[in-house]
C-alpha cells in the first residue's frame, strides 16, 4: 500500500493507570501519528508531512476552556490500528458469518523514550464496536462534533475500486480510517478523557457490557426519535442556524465533488490504459521493421510503463478522496450538533410555553375571569360553576405543576446555556481543524499532481527519445 500520509499523535494520560482519564480532563495534548513502532517516537510533535502539529498544539492550549494550562504530560500513549484479520463467528441471530477485526495497539511513549521496548497492549475490535463507541459519544457528549468513522460501505467508487467489504484494499483503507478516528478522538480534549474510550483501547472483553451499563442507549433512543421529528424553534440561535446551513452546503459540495472525482478517475484510467495497446502493437510491428524495429520496440516499453503508472497515481488520489469523505461525514456530525441544539431549544421553549399557560390557568382560576376561550370555561358557563372546593383543589394542583414547571424551565435553560457554551467551543475547534486539514488536503493534492506531471514528462521524454531513433 502506498504511504499514506499521517499526522503524528501522542495522547497524554494521567500517571495513575487506574484512573486514567478521569477528572481534570486533560493536560496539553500533543498530537502525533503512530506508526507500528519505529524508533523515532520519543520526540513529541515531530511531524512528517504535516507542518501543523505545533499549531494544533497551540490551539488546544488556547481554545479549549477545559484544558489546564501547562503541559504536565504524565504519560504519553501511542495508539495505532496495526492489523486487520478475518474471523468467523456466530452473530446476534446465531448465524455463522465472516467479519473483520482490527488490532488496536497502545503503548506508553515514555517507555520507548527510555530505551525500553515494551510490547504494546493490544485489543481486537470489529467495526460494529467502533460504531458503538461513536454512538456512545454522540449521546454522552451531544455538544461535540464527533469525528466520523470511515464509511460503512464503499461509495463513490470508480470502476476499478472494489465496493466489496471483504476486498483487501477496502479493508486496508478502512484500517487507516479507523486509526484516524482513534487519533482524532484521542486528541480531543473532551473525548480523550472519557473512561469508556480508555477501556475501548485497553479492555477487550466485557467492554460492550460496560458501555451498555452506562444506560446511554435509553437516552439514545429517545433522542433519536426526537431528532427525527420535525419541530419548529421560535427563536433559534442565529449562529447555529448558520452553522446548520453551512453543514448542509459542505455535505452537498463534498458529495458532488466525490462523485465527479470518481468519474474523472475512471476516465483517466481509460486514457492511460489504452496507451498499453501501443506497447503491444509496436512490439508486434517492430518484428517486420528493420530500421524502425528497435525504436518501436523500446517506445512500446515506455508506453507500457505509462499505462501501468496510472495504478499508483489513482491509489494516491484515493487518499485525497478519503480526506474529502472524512469531511463529508464531519459535515453530518456538525449538523447533528446543530440539530441537538435545536431540540434543546425546542424543549426549553415548550417547557416555557407550558409554564406560561399553567400560570395563566392559575390566574383565571384565582380571579374567576376567563381570558381566553376554553372548553372548560364554556362548559362552566353552560353547566354551572364548580364548587369552591373543587377550585381550591385545582389551584393546588396547578401550583405544584407551576413549581415543577419553573424548575424544569430553569433546568432546561441551564442545560441549553451549557450546551451552547460547550458546543460553541467545539465549533471553533472544529472550524480551525477543518480549515487546516482541508488546506493541507489541497496542498497534498497539488503535490500529487506535480508528481504525476513529472512522471508524465519523463515517460514521454523517454518515448520521444525512442521515436527519434526510429
Amino acid at each position: 500500500m502506498t504511504g499514506i500520509r499521517r499526522k503524528l499523535l501522542v495522547v497524554s494520560a494521567h500517571a495513575d493507570s487506574r484512573t486514567p482519564f478521569l477528572v481534570q480532563s486533560n493536560e496539553n495534548i500533543f498530537v502525533r501519528m503512530a506508526e507500528p513502532v519505529t524508533g523515532s517516537e520519543e520526540i513529541p510533535a515531530v511531524t512528517e508531512n504535516d507542518a501543523d502539529a505545533t499549531s494544533e498544539e497551540l490551539e488546544n492550549n488556547q481554545t479549549n476552556a477545559m484544558v489546564e494550562e501547562g503541559t504536565n504530560l504524565l504519560r504519553k500513549m501511542e495508539i495505532s490500528v496495526a492489523e486487520a484479520e478475518k474471523r468467523m463467528g456466530k452473530n446476534s441471530v446465531n448465524i455463522q458469518e465472516t467479519y473483520t477485526v482490527y488490532l488496536i495497539e497502545t503503548r506508553p511513549i515514555d517507555a520507548v523514550a527510555e530505551g525500553h521496548n515494551p510490547a504494546p497492549d493490544s485489543v481486537w475490535r470489529r467495526y460494529s464496536e467502533f460504531e458503538l463507541l461513536r454512538n456512545y459519544f454522540l449521546v454522552t457528549f451531544p455538544f461535540v462534533v464527533v469525528p466520523p468513522l470511515p464509511e460503512k460501505r464503499a461509495e463513490f467508487v470508480w470502476h476499478k475500486l472494489s465496493a466489496d467489504n471483504m476486498d483487501p484494499d477496502f479493508v486496508e483503507r478502512r484500517r487507516v480510517g479507523l486509526e484516524n478516528f482513534l487519533l482524532r478522538v484521542a486528541s480531543h480534549s473532551v473525548l480523550s478523557n472519557d473512561k469508556i474510550f480508555y477501556q475501548f483501547l485497553t479492555e477487550e472483553n466485557g467492554w460492550k457490557e460496560v458501555v451498555f451499563d452506562t444506560g446511554f442507549q435509553a437516552k439514545a433512543d429517545s433522542r433519536l426519535k426526537a431528532l427525527n421529528a420535525t419541530f419548529r424553534v421560535k427563536s433559534p440561535d442565529k449562529r447555529f442556524v448558520e452553522l446548520k446551513h453551512y453543514s448542509d452546503e459542505l455535505q452537498s459540495i463534498t458529495s458532488q465533488l466525490l462523485r465527479v472525482r470518481a468519474r474523472v478517475a475512471d476516465r483517466l484510467y481509460g486514457v492511460y490504459k489504452v496507451h498499453g495497446n501501443y506497447g503491444r502493437v509496436f512490439s508486434e510491428w517492430s518484428a517486420i521493421e528493420r530500421e524502425m524495429g528497435d525504436g518501436l520496440q523500446s517506445a512500446g516499453h515506455h508506453m507500457d510503463a505509462y499505462a501501468s503508472s496510472i495504478d499508483d497515481i489513482l491509489e494516491e488520489e484515493e487518499h485525497y478522496a478519503d480526506q474529502m469523505k472524512e469531511y463529508l461525514f464531519y459535515a453530518e456530525a456538525l449538523r447533528a450538533v446543530c440539530r441537538k441544539h435545536e431540540l434543546m431549544q425546542y424543549e426549553l421553549e415548550t417547557a416555557a410555553l407550558d409554564l406560561a399557560s399553567k400560570k395563566q390557568q392559575r390566574e383565571e382560576l384565582a380571579t374567576g375571569t376567563v381570558r381566553t376561550f376554553s372548553f372548560k370555561g364554556m362548559t362552566n358557563k353552560l353547566f354551572g360553576q364548580e364548587t369552591q372546593e373543587q377550585r381550591e383543589a385545582k389551584l393546588q394542583v396547578l401550583e405544584e405543576q407551576i413549581i415543577e414547571g419553573e424548575e424544569l424551565v430553569k433546568e432546561k435553560t441551564i442545560e441549553c446555556d451549557e450546551f451552547v457554551k460547550n458546543a460553541w467551543v467545539d465549533m471553533v475547534r472544529f472550524k480551525e481543524q477543518k480549515d487546516r486539514d482541508l488546506k493541507e488536503a489541497l496542498i497534498s493534492y497539488a503535490i500529487m499532481q506535480i508528481s504525476v506531471c513529472k512522471k508524465g514528462i519523463q515517460m514521454w521524454a523517454n518515448a520521444k527519445e525512442c521515436f527519434s531513433k526510429m
Binding site: 495497446n277 510491428w285 517486420i288
Partner: protein, 444 residues
C-alpha cells in the same frame, strides 16, 4: 438547413459555420464525392490572398525540407477551401498553387481551383499509367461516422491537409511528377480540364480497377519472385498493425475527450465551495483556477491528437490498401504473362504472334517489377519519416502538456505554502516543510 462554409483566409470577421449535413450524405454513393455543403451565400472569394496558414503537418514539412536538399524544383500547395453553389449542386473547391522552374511548364506559377473529383481523377490516371508505382492515398471519399464529431470546418481542414500531402507526394516522385496528367491538373483552366478528362479511359478507370481486382482473385500467380512474396507478407502484417494503431489512437482520443468533459465539471464545484468558506475561500478558488487551466491544456492535447496523430495514422491505413492494390496489379501482370505462356505451350498455330505478345508482356512485367522495387524503398523511407514525425509530435505535445500543468500546480503550491510559512513563522523550523515540499508521495 443553412450554413456557410468557413473560409480560413477570409479577412472579414464573419464567423460562419457549416452545418453538419454530412451525416445524410454518408452512404450516398450516387452523390458527388465532394462534401456537400448547403450555403446561404455563394462565397466566390477571389482567393488571391495567399493562405498564410500553410499546412504545417510535420511530415510534409520534413519532406519538403529534405527535398530541398535535392534541389526540388516544384512546389505545390493546397489551400483556401470555398464552397460553390450551382443550379445543380453545391461543392467545395480548393486552390492549388504551383511554383516551378521546370521547363515542361510554360510559366513558373499557376493557380487553379480543383474539387475532390478532380483529385480522384488524377489518382486514377496515375495508377493506370503506372500500375506498380505507389501513389499516396487520397483522403476518403465518404465520411466515417466517428470521425466527424466537430464542425465540418475541421473535416474540411483535415481533408485539405491530406490533399496537400497527396499532391506533394506526387510532386516529389521522380516518375509521377513528370506525368502529363499531373501537369494538366496543376495548370489547366477548369474547362480545359473537363475536356481532357473526357479523353482516355479515365472515366472507366474506376471500373477497370474493380474488374482487375476480381480477375486477380480468379487467376493466381504461380511463380511469384521471392522478394515480392516478402513484400506481400510485410504489407499484410503492416496493414494489420497500422489498422490497430489507428483504432488505438482513435480510442485514446475518445477517452481523452470524455476525461476532459468530466474534468470540466470540477472547476465550478470548487468555485461554489469557496463561496461557503472564509479561510478556505482563497485556496479553493486557486484550486478552481488550476483545474480550469489544466482543462485548457487537455483541450490542446486533444486537438493535437485529432489534427495530427489520428490523420497521420489513418493515412497509412489507406496506404496499406494502396500497397495491397499495387501488389495485386503486379501479380496480375505476371499472371497475364504466365497465362499467355501456358497458352503458347498448348497452341500449335499462331505461335509467332503469341510469342511477340508474350515478349511485350514480359517487358512490361520487368518494367513493372523494377518500378515497384524502386518505389518500395522510397515508400518505406517516407513511411518511417511520417510515422516517426507523427509520434514525435505527439510525444512533444504530451511533454508540453505535462510541463504546463506542472507549472500550474507548482505555482498554486507556492502560493499556498507561502501563506503557511507566514502563519507558522516563529513556531517551527521550516525545515520539515521544505522536506515535505520536495517529497512526492512515494509508491510502495
Amino acid at each position: 438547413m443553412s450554413g456557410i462554409i468557413v473560409d480560413p483566409t477570409a479577412e472579414s470577421a464573419s464567423t460562419q459555420e457549416i452545418t453538419t449535413d454530412v451525416s445524410e450524405r454518408m452512404l450516398d454513393l450516387d452523390e458527388d464525392d465532394d462534401l456537400e455543403v448547403f450555403s446561404k451565400d455563394a462565397t466566390l472569394a477571389d482567393g488571391s490572398l495567399f493562405n498564410a496558414s500553410m499546412p504545417t503537418s510535420p511530415a510534409s514539412m520534413i519532406n519538403q525540407f529534405e527535398e530541398d536538399a535535392d534541389e526540388k524544383d516544384i512546389f505545390v500547395t493546397v489551400d483556401n477551401p470555398e464552397s460553390h453553389v450551382t443550379a445543380i449542386e453545391t461543392f467545395i473547391t480548393y486552390r492549388v498553387l504551383t511554383k516551378t522552374t521546370r521547363s515542361e511548364f510554360d510559366s513558373c506559377e499557376y493557380e487553379v481551383r480543383r474539387r475532390y473529383q478532380d483529385f480522384h481523377w488524377l489518382k486514377g490516371r496515375l495508377e493506370e499509367a503506372h500500375p506498380t508505382l505507389i501513389v499516396h492515398p487520397l483522403p476518403e471519399k465518404f465520411v466515417m461516422k466517428g470521425m466527424v464529431e466537430r464542425f465540418n470546418e475541421d473535416f474540411i481542414e483535415t481533408r485539405r491537409k491530406a490533399l496537400h500531402r497527396f499532391l506533394n507526394r506526387i510532386a516529389d516522385h521522380p516518375i509521377l511528377s513528370c506525368s502529363e496528367d499531373f501537369k494538366i491538373f496543376l495548370t489547366a483552366e477548369a474547362s480545359e480540364l473537363t475536356t481532357h478528362k473526357k479523353q482516355g479511359p479515365g472515366f472507366l478507370s474506376r471500373m477497370g480497377d474493380t474488374v482487375r481486382a476480381v480477375a486477380a482473385t480468379v487467376r493466381g500467380v504461380k511463380n511469384r519472385p521471392e522478394e515480392f512474396t516478402a513484400i506481400q507478407e510485410y504489407v499484410d502484417t503492416f496493414s494489420q498493425k497500422i489498422n490497430s494503431l489507428d483504432k488505438v489512437a482513435l480510442r485514446i482520443l475518445k477517452e481523452q475527450k470524455e476525461y476532459l468533459e468530466d474534468l470540466k465539471e470540477c472547476e465550478p464545484m470548487y468555485t461554489l465551495w469557496s463561496g461557503s468558506e472564509d479561510e478556505l475561500a482563497e485556496p479553493l478558488r486557486g484550486m478552481a483556477g488550476c483545474i480550469d487551466r489544466c482543462c485548457r491544456e487537455t483541450g490542446e492535447q486533444v486537438n493535437q491528437l485529432s489534427e495530427n496523430l489520428v490523420p497521420a495514422l489513418h493515412e497509412y491505413v489507406l496506404c496499406a490498401e494502396t500497397l495491397k492494390a499495387v501488389l495485386r496489379r503486379r501479380d496480375n501482370i505476371q499472371a497475364d504473362v504466365e497465362a499467355k505462356s501456358e497458352t503458347l505451350a498448348n497452341k500449335m498455330t499462331e505461335r509467332e504472334s503469341l510469342k511477340e505478345e508474350i515478349d511485350k508482356l514480359e517487358d512490361k512485367m520487368e518494367f513493372a517489377n523494377n518500378a515497384l522495387k524502386g518505389d518500395w524503398e522510397r515508400w518505406q523511407k517516407n513511411m518511417r519519416e511520417d510515422i516517426k514525425a507523427a509520434f514525435m509530435c505527439t510525444a512533444e505535445k504530451n511533454i508540453d502538456y505535462y510541463e504546463k500543468c506542472l507549472a500550474v500546480w507548482e505555482s498554486f503550491l507556492l502560493s499556498q505554502r507561502s501563506d503557511l510559512t507566514v502563519e507558522s513563522s516563529g513556531e517551527q523550523d521550516p525545515a520539515p516543510q521544505e522536506i515535505a515540499k520536495d517529497e512526492a508521495p512515494q509508491a510502495t
